[in-house]
Amino acid sequence: MKHVVIIGNSAAGIAAAESIRQIDKTSKITILSDEGYEAYCRCLLSYYLAGEVDEEKIPYRPKSFYKENNFDLLLNKKVVSVEPEKNRIVLEDKSSVGYDSLLIATGASPKFPKGVKGLQQKGVFGLRTLKDAKDIVALLSSSGSVCVLGAGLVGLRVAHALSKRKLKVTVVVKSKQVLSQMLDARAASLVQKKLESNGIEFIMGADAVEVLGGAQVKGIKLDSGKEVPCSLVIVGKGVSANMDLVKDSKVKCADGILTDKFLQSSIPGIYAAGDVCENFDLTIGKTAVNALWPIAIEQGKIAGSRIAGASEAYDGSMGMNSIEFFGLPVISLGVYDIKGASVSLEELETFDENKGMYKKLILKDGKMIGAIMVGDIRASGLLLSLIRNKVDVAPFKDKLLLEDFSYPHIAGKTNEKEQMYV
């Protein structure tokens, strides 16, 4: 009997397992996870941290899920290496598991910068796993203030969550703006102002060099020499793909495991999907890791169906994100800044500072390759569809920023399957 091994029990791993089972009811499917929980909604962790979502709403699938689908789930199993020539994986306890097809969906881990001293002590966390979240929550009652290192998505979500828990929050940002991986300077400043007006403090252009304390965190020391007292430190300096397990193999990697249009790695029979996977990026025109929940699902589905023998191909992913802080919604799609672009790009924008409303679209050769929307996000799905379908928007580009820009403007242009009008 064919044995499919899936390393990783989150978005990509589960999507793949389900998609295999849809086609193939008999193969043995083993899912391994280095965590101790059944699949859960990872993106809800910041809401859990804020006290807005209870633990009972965290599970991603019902209790009966693994049994009903005949998935063998092995928890708390860390895979340390892949041996393609022997078709097997090796676990931390030196035992091995053979496979016919392998999906690596190991996700990513928070980066802990090497230059910062004292990051190993108690009271310093990344936010990636349910265990991280529970450990932070356990310390909340004895914590009055927190320093968040980094103003990326996770950093700001944690800052937002902990301010809802009434902690004094200070965010230390090395660059000139927040969310530099998804917003331009203007959008970032709207977000920052919103957070500041709700009591979150920012120290810009500074970096932590040391976490102070010993048995207990007492504060952080900045590169300026200034010390900021706090009893909790959250590191939000981005994530890196969990691909150590293939470092001694011939599986080709860059920022993630490089995959083809079927999500197969450079070694036949070994696939990758989700935050560990590097694939073609539709908007920047080269390969990239887009570590996002919806993309992990997409990739997992394609990889799974391919493992089960189907031939649906993946056209690629793109960066996209939706966030909301204190009632200010923000969406970023694809290319978000034209600074440093080597080819000529066109920008269209509207900005109303009083309303906190800002929209910017980026076009290349008459086609959209990116957008930022702050305050009014209603048309974001349509813009995403125009980007993904590479629609020539030149004939109607004056409509794109209208307040009532709507599906009828683009009906028939985007290759959607569902009919609406007769």
Partner: protein, 149 residues
Amino acid sequence: MKNLYYVVKKCVGCKTCELACAVAHSESDDLSKALKEKRVARPLVRVYGVSGKDYPVTCRHCKDPKCVAACMAKALTRDVKTGMVLHDEDRCVGCWMCVMVCPYGAIRPNHKIKLPLRCDRCKDKDQPACVKACPTKAILWEEEPEPKK
């Protein structure tokens, strides 16, 4: 499986469907009372005027719904038996991922209550309220055509 279709040449943009939809989704199901409710119901269908024509827009309950795939809280699911995309308000955290990925722009954020506005085909009624209300019979409630080969 039945779906909603719109005869564009019959639609006059009167927005009677929007009103009927909002009332149907109010607690009282009564226009005069609906406006005084604590959570004022909003229309789930919207009519947009484009180039002199009027077009209603609603959730298509897609067979391969992007919103369900993107929903990180597992609030959106697709019921294979009924073909309906269902939304569990209790699980929803208002992250707007569904708004971001809907290729029809058929999901709008209701910022007041942090929940998406999306057509549920009046699932508890015998037929969608908009169909009954449309004065020009521009809204059809019909079996879906066979998928094109």
